[in-house]
């Protein structure tokens, strides 16, 4: 499997994970270790930013191979997001930020207007910005243009476990993106993760499906394998399916060449 490079940092694992919804810190720690994940997102709102060193959750994440990716979950607009990112940079000593702006508290859908504005502002402030966004090819190109280090389109509503409902748009995004495309949200089963990787996604971010499994450690391992399998298949080159359904034309189109 080719390593993934984002903003100059190399990842051997293409499975990114989250820290929400686990039954306990210990269980989270075990699951994240089983996942092999090297990038783990943490909601800034969950951390004691004043005493990050003593923070209980962060205590479970102190491994040399795990990079923390603070996220701005809970903010409602660009202004709050920029403020949150600055807090995160100070508390966690990283300039990486997963930008999530969802003004609606129910479906947690990203606000594309505020996200674009915040991405531009944070890039100017020196952040490595990974925005969570709709599977909208145009907004993904706009985010790339203002300097996003990757784009994180959603597969289906966050926490829904529904898989790649946006697949037609994800394919377009992957086809035209110059930055890594990380499918975020909605991946509910290892087969979904493998499917995203087969499409050519650079990585997937999985949280709920691991955290709420009856056996998070086993599930994390299953996702680890699925992501590798999907990526290896992509690199090997799929193509044995006849998508086009074309046979030869009933009457030859090129007989004029022999006349």
């Amino acid at each position: 499997m080719e390593p993934l490079i984002i903003a100059g940092r190399t990842f051997d694992s293409r499975l990114f994970t989250g820290t929400g919804k686990f039954g306990s810190g210990v269980q989270m720690e075990k699951a994240l270790l089983a996942s092999g994940s090297q990038l783990v997102t943490v909601a800034l709102k969950r951390i004691d930013t004043a005493n990050a060193l003593q923070d209980d959750m962060l205590g479970h994440l102190r491994y040399p191979h795990i990079h923390l990716l603070p996220n701005t979950s809970g903010v409602r607009n660009a202004k709050e997001a920029v403020y949150a990112a600055q807090l995160a940079r100070e508390a966690l000593e990283t300039n990486w930020i997963k930008l999530e702006i969802h003004p609606d508290p129910k479906y947690l859908l990203p606000d594309p207007v505020e996200t674009l504005e915040a991405t531009a502002a944070l890039v100017r402030l020196g952040f490595v910005v990974l925005p969570y966004i709709h599977a909208d090819p145009v907004i993904c190109k706009r985010l790339e243009e203002v300097g996003a280090a990757a784009v994180m389109p959603l597969g289906s509503p966050i926490g829904s476990n529904k898989g790649l409902r946006t697949i037609d748009f994800l394919e377009i995004i992957i086809a035209q993106s110059n930055v890594p495309v990380i499918v975020d949200a909605g991946i509910g089963a290892p087969s979904h993760a493998a499917q995203a990787m087969e499409l050519g996604a650079a990585a997937v971010l999985v949280n709920t499906a691991i955290a709420v499994s009856r056996n998070p450690v086993k599930m994390a391992d299953a996702f680890r394998m699925a992501v590798i399998a999907g990526r290896e298949a992509y690199e090997a080159g799929l193509g044995s399916v006849n998508h086009s359904g074309h046979a030869n034309a009933s009457s030859p189109l090129l007989s004029f060449l022999d006349e």
């Binding site: 110059n178 006849n242 034309a249 004029f256």
Partner: protein
């Protein structure tokens, strides 16, 4: 970041070797794929794909109809000038070719415009040589307002210019710029362009980047087929296209396939491309890229053009004159190259209709920004 960074990562001989090493299995895999990669494109233009041509044509036809419907857009070139400071070994306007030079005045342009409008055209392609003193930005700024009044869409095939020049012409009505690299074989490029501004390979190579940065609506790419191995040159064209689409994603693109035509005192092609191979290339482009405009000019024969209407082509010229003043002012002056299909536009339109296709004369409006 510009295309040159990507271009420098490829070696001509290595690419050529990879194309000619493609096998029937590679072609079959490329035919099956839903999204075809540059590697698939290599297989589709390789000699190994020749036995699959009928199948490629069927797919190309289907994809083109799905994306464009049964339509062919029509345009005509308007040669404004044959003055040129460049020496190009294959071109009738070459500086060292002793022909009478002419640049149309405002009055003469109007005469030409009226003749072209009588043929039914709404889309016009302005063509010049490279003579920056007489046919530079001052000239274009002067003639664009005149031309724009009469046409829905203006394209241009002139010397490469700066980003700010393109940006200045877009509000005056510039929609499309065609800039062919001629060949991506750098050494050969230098051989064929020994003198003039055009001798600068990199400056030409980066022209589409400048166009993209200026926010142009459409960019036309291509190579002059006959200068070098067409397969290798076409791969580099596809590589260029792929880069541009990712980078200047709001711009549309077109590809042309000019085969070297005779002109007075001209060059014999080093490499000859057969009709069958041109069909292969056109279908390969369509299979690689469903959205791209594919354009076929009057360089090609009547019979060939008639059959290509249904195989992937989306744009055609007709009744073209390749000399400044050729439509009304000075029909006898020397042309850039000899055209092959000399039928009038209404004959071409009738030929298109007979095949169940619609000739489209107008597909743009002033409200669309230029």
């Amino acid at each position: 970041m510009s295309f040159e960074n990507i271009f420098r990562q490829y070696q001509w001989d290595d690419v050529k070797q990879r194309i000619y090493a493609k096998t029937a299995l590679d072609v079959e895999a490329a035919l099956r794929n839903k999204h075809r990669s540059l590697d698939d494109f290599m297989a589709l233009i390789s000699p190994a794909a020749i036995p699959y041509l009928e199948q490629m044509a069927a797919i190309s036809q289907q994809l083109t109809q799905q994306r464009f419907g049964k339509t062919i857009q029509l345009y005509v070139p308007l040669y404004l000038s044959n003055e040129c400071q460049n020496i190009c070994t294959y071109c009738g306007f070459s500086y060292d070719n002793p022909i009478r030079r002419k640049t149309l005045s405002g009055t003469e342009i109007l005469e030409e415009i009226l003749a072209i409008r009588r043929m039914g055209y709404e889309h016009v392609l302005l063509v010049t040589g490279e003579a920056n003193q007489t046919v530079g930005m001052d000239y274009f700024k002067k003639v664009f307002p005149l031309i724009r009044q009469h046409f829905a869409q203006i394209s241009m095939e002139v010397q490469p210019m700066e980003t700010e020049d393109y940006a200045a012409l877009i509000p005056l009505g510039l929609h499309t710029v065609l800039v062919y690299q001629e060949t991506y074989h750098e050494e050969d490029y230098r051989k064929h362009h020994p003198k003039g501004k055009k001798s600068k390979f990199s400056y030409r190579l980066e022209t589409p980047d400048r166009l993209g940065a200026a926010g142009i609506h459409k960019i036309g790419l291509g190579v002059l087929i006959g200068l070098e191995d067409w397969r290798t040159d076409s791969f580099f064209t596809a590589l260029h296209l792929d880069y541009l689409q990712r980078t200047y994603w709001q711009t549309k693109y077109s590809i042309s396939f000019p085969r070297l035509r005779p002109f007075s005192g001209g060059l014999t092609p080093k490499v000859e491309m057969k009709d069958r191979e041109l069909v292969q290339l056109i279908c390969a482009y369509r299979l690689f890229n469903e959205d791209i405009d594919l354009s076929l000019s009057t360089r090609e024969s009547e019979k060939f053009r008639d059959h290509l209407v249904q195989l992937g082509i989306t744009t055609m010229s007709a009744g073209s004159k390749t000399n400044p003043g050729g439509y009304a002012v000075d029909a006898q002056s020397l042309e850039q190259f000899e055209i092959s299909d000399e039928r009038a536009p209404d004959e071409i339109a009738a030929m298109i209709r007979r095949q169940g296709y619609e000739p489209v004369w107008k597909d743009w409006s002033v409200f669309q920004g230029s």
